[in-house]
């Protein structure tokens, strides 16, 4: 553990002091002088990540006229609840983290945020080339239709994606290689069950970790393209539920857990496979017994007929419309700085989130860290297959319906087809505005 911290610190030092391999973003010609404003930034990063974020903020403040105050507001859910309350009270901060497109869509619908696009296009913004340096999936994740036009409404910051975790020792004992498709995973789980005493798969049937990636890998989707209707009552949707039912009820190779309850048994070496985001690794390593450490295996989620797919986790940044124009501009300058190559490399190596730009992936600091540990690249390589969570402002009402649908099927209370049909009706009711 101590060594791990040391490596991270060393990498941070490298990232902040070493010369950067690629030029960082430079200001386009006619930008107005930087405003001397104070920016309030509500975020959801605590513990080590909170400290690292505060260090970044301090670094920004020491070199800029814009002064940022970061305020920790609790978990993403609490942060969201506070923002909703702040919107009611009319006293929002200048900028905040959001956990994904559905919340951004809600804020946008309430006209509480200004689309980031206007700053990207401004003299303070980014050139085409600079924008092209960002991973396209991340820009998509931050875009929503505004007046029928795809628009950047928020800005990427801490991004991770869902991956397959495995215990290489158990796989070796069972004589199983890392599965590349869902079918291979099912067979691998059966082999692990037959040849070892380990739990083949321990997972929480969250729609994000399993249902959606599986659905996408079959070519299906949760909602129709215009987000106006349920889109999962299809053979692909039924397959996405049935697959989990097969594992849990027919093969009995999957143990269903709640929340992060799979993490400890996995860390204790009792579980062969798990599904979680790239950020889970430090938590797993921390929970490992000192005398039974193993190298946590990470691989992309298995592929379906339409290739592999994963979904984006983490957070994006938004600017509130109630903030004065200068504050908005200051907030944008901070966001832009935060995602410049040097900072995104530093943040990525410190946090386990992914670097957001190609130049960051190719930077010396990141490359040397990846040379030491190729697992850093697993999440990044999966990025090209990443989907954002559907950007519907009603997603919060839809997600529990999908969760209940999967739970019902996994408990054998309904077959996959009936569970899907029932959920489809509920989702369509929600989307039609009840």
């Amino acid at each position: 553990m101590r060594i791990h911290v040391f490596i991270v610190l060393a990498a941070l030092l490298l990232a902040s002091c070493g010369p950067s391999a690629t030029p960082t973003a430079t200001q386009p010609q006619t930008a107005a002088p930087e405003p001397a404003v104070s920016i309030t930034f509500w975020h959801g990063q605590s513990g080590v990540l909170g400290d690292r974020l505060n260090e970044l903020i301090a670094k920004f403040n020491s070199t800029h006229k814009v002064q940022v105050t970061g305020q920790f507001q609790g978990t993403y859910d609490q942060l969201y609840q506070k923002v909703v309350s702040a919107i009611q009270a009319g006293s929002v901060p200048d900028m905040a983290m959001v956990s994904g497109p559905p919340q951004t869509a809600q804020y946008l619908k309430a006209k509480a945020i200004v689309p980031v696009q206007q700053f990207v296009d401004s003299p303070d913004g980014l050139s085409k080339d600079q924008l092209a340096d960002f991973v396209p999936a991340l820009l998509d994740d931050n875009s929503l239709p505004v007046n029928g036009k795809k628009t950047l409404v928020s800005w990427p910051f801490s991004k991770s994606d869902a991956l397959l975790y495995y215990n290489p020792d158990i796989l070796k004992t069972a004589g199983v290689s890392v599965p590349k498709t869902w079918d291979e995973l099912r067979t691998a789980l059966q082999t692990v069950k037959a040849k070892t005493t380990a739990t083949p798969l321990s997972y929480t049937p969250d729609v994000y970790y399993f249902f959606l990636p599986y659905l996408w890998s079959q070519g299906g989707d949760a909602l129709s393209a215009d987000l106006s209707k349920a889109g999962f009552n299809t053979p692909q949707g039924i397959a996405a539920v049935q697959y989990q039912v097969d594992l849990a009820l027919a093969d009995k190779t999957a143990v269903i857990t709640q929340g992060f309850d799979w993490q400890n048994p996995f860390a204790q070496g009792k579980v062969a496979f798990a599904v979680s985001t790239s950020v889970s690794r430090p938590f797993i390593e921390q929970a490992m017994p000192a005398d039974k450490k193993f190298r946590v295996g990470m691989a992309p989620l298995p592929a379906g007929p339409k290739g592999a797919s994963t979904d984006l986790f983490g957070n994006n940044l938004v600017i509130f419309s109630k903030a004065p124009a200068d504050d908005q501009r200051g907030a944008w300058l901070f966001m832009k700085w935060l995602t410049e190559t040097d900072q995104t490399v530093a943040w990525s190596l410190a946090s386990g989130y992914m670097p957001l730009r190609d130049s960051a992936r190719n930077s010396t600091a990141f490359k040397s860290a990846a040379d030491q540990d190729d697992r850093l690249l697993v999440a990044i390589n999966a990025l090209k297959d990443a989907h954002g969570i559907p950007g519907s402002p009603d997603w919060q009402k839809i997600q529990p319906v999908l969760g209940d649908m999967v739970t019902k099927a996994l408990l054998g209370q309904a077959n996959a087809k009936d569970a899907i049909a029932e959920a489809e009706k509920k989702v369509n009711d929600i989307l039609s505005g009840y």
Binding site: T75, Q106, K109, T204, P393, P400, L411, Y434
Partner: protein, 311 residues
């Protein structure tokens, strides 16, 4: 002359009342009025169209809301009488001249002074299907392990409340509140005049007859008080059910599994905070408030006349 003195006295009275009124006004009455206002609108993040009683009409047809009322009824019916009965039993025991009586009083009261959230977290470990103590005990005596808080199946009939999850929550609720009932009953017992008990004994009463004709009637003010407080508390209970129902977990908002622990207060929370239907949730909160009021009035009609005050 006299009128002005009375006015001054009244003014003083209001002055003394002012701090409390201000707090109650600002944090109870004003929010309640504002919630009622919100309940008349379609109000997600921001105020949208005026619906009048539209939200209320939708509630009456909302299967999830009606289910949450049914779950609340089961929860109240399954916890309050048991809490009171066990609490009274304990109080009678603790009223005897026992050794270590003070220690026992402390032990039984201890859960009640512990944070409900902490209690909820500890019990959710106990009921954890993978590493919980509850399954360890079951397996020790040869009963198959249960999924406890993750089990939506009913314990009486498959589809009817309470689910095993809700039953587990009810058990924890009873465990938590028994000490409170015991202590309040105990104070009721100590208030019974000794001479009445002695007189009854001289008349030949003892054991159950003494309890039936002297003790029980004379603690009726305490019983009535506890019934009211416990019923209102259970109908609006939130913390324990929220934590034990997986609230705050990544998976689902509150009232897991499959909504079978979603009591009415959790329904309100879920619609307000997790689904951001502020107007609709406010309407649900109002209906819940009216139901609580109706039951309190019913309690009074049914039981107030039977209360005996000795002073």
């Amino acid at each position: 002359m006299r009128a002005s003195r009375r006015r001054r006295e009244a003014l003083e009275g209001y002055l003394f009342l002012a701090p409390a009124l201000l707090i109650i006004g600002a944090f109870h009455i004003w929010p309640a009025l504002y919630a009622f206002y919100m309940s008349l609108f379609r109000w997600e993040i921001l105020q949208e169209g005026f619906l009048g009683i539209g939200n209320y009409l939708r509630l009456v047809r909302d299967a999830d809301f009606l289910r949450s009322l049914a779950i609340t009824a089961v929860y109240v019916g399954g916890t309050v009488p048991l809490e009171m009965a066990v609490g009274l039993g304990l109080a009678l025991l603790l009223h005897q001249r026992l050794r270590l009586r003070g220690l026992f009083r402390l032990v039984y009261f201890l859960p009640y002074v512990t944070s409900q959230v902490a209690v909820g977290l500890v019990w959710s470990w106990v009921f954890n299907p993978t590493y919980g103590v509850a399954n360890g005990i079951l397996e020790g005596i040869g009963i198959p392990a249960q999924r406890w808080l993750l089990e939506p199946r009913g314990i009486v009939a498959a589809g009817a409340p309470p689910s095993l999850a809700l039953a587990a929550v009810m058990l924890v609720t009873i465990w938590y509140f028994v000490g409170f009932h015991a202590v309040v009953f105990l104070s009721g017992l100590t208030a019974i005049p000794d001479e009445l008990v002695d007189a009854a004994r001289i008349d030949g009463a003892g054991g159950f007859r003494l309890f039936r004709h002297i003790t029980f009637p004379l603690i009726s003010p305490t019983t009535y008080f506890l019934l009211l407080v416990a019923t209102i508390g259970a109908m609006t209970s939130f913390n324990l059910v929220y934590v034990l129902g997986g609230g705050g977990q990544a998976f689902g908002c509150a009232g897991n599994p499959l909504g079978t622990t979603q009591v009415a207060a959790l329904y309100v929370f879920d619609r307000f905070w997790c689904q951001t239907q502020l107007g609709y949730a406010s309407a649900a909160a109002f209906v819940l408030g009216l139901v609580v009021l109706a039951i309190t009035v019913a309690n009074e009609r049914l039981f107030a006349r039977r209360v005996v005050y000795v002073g």
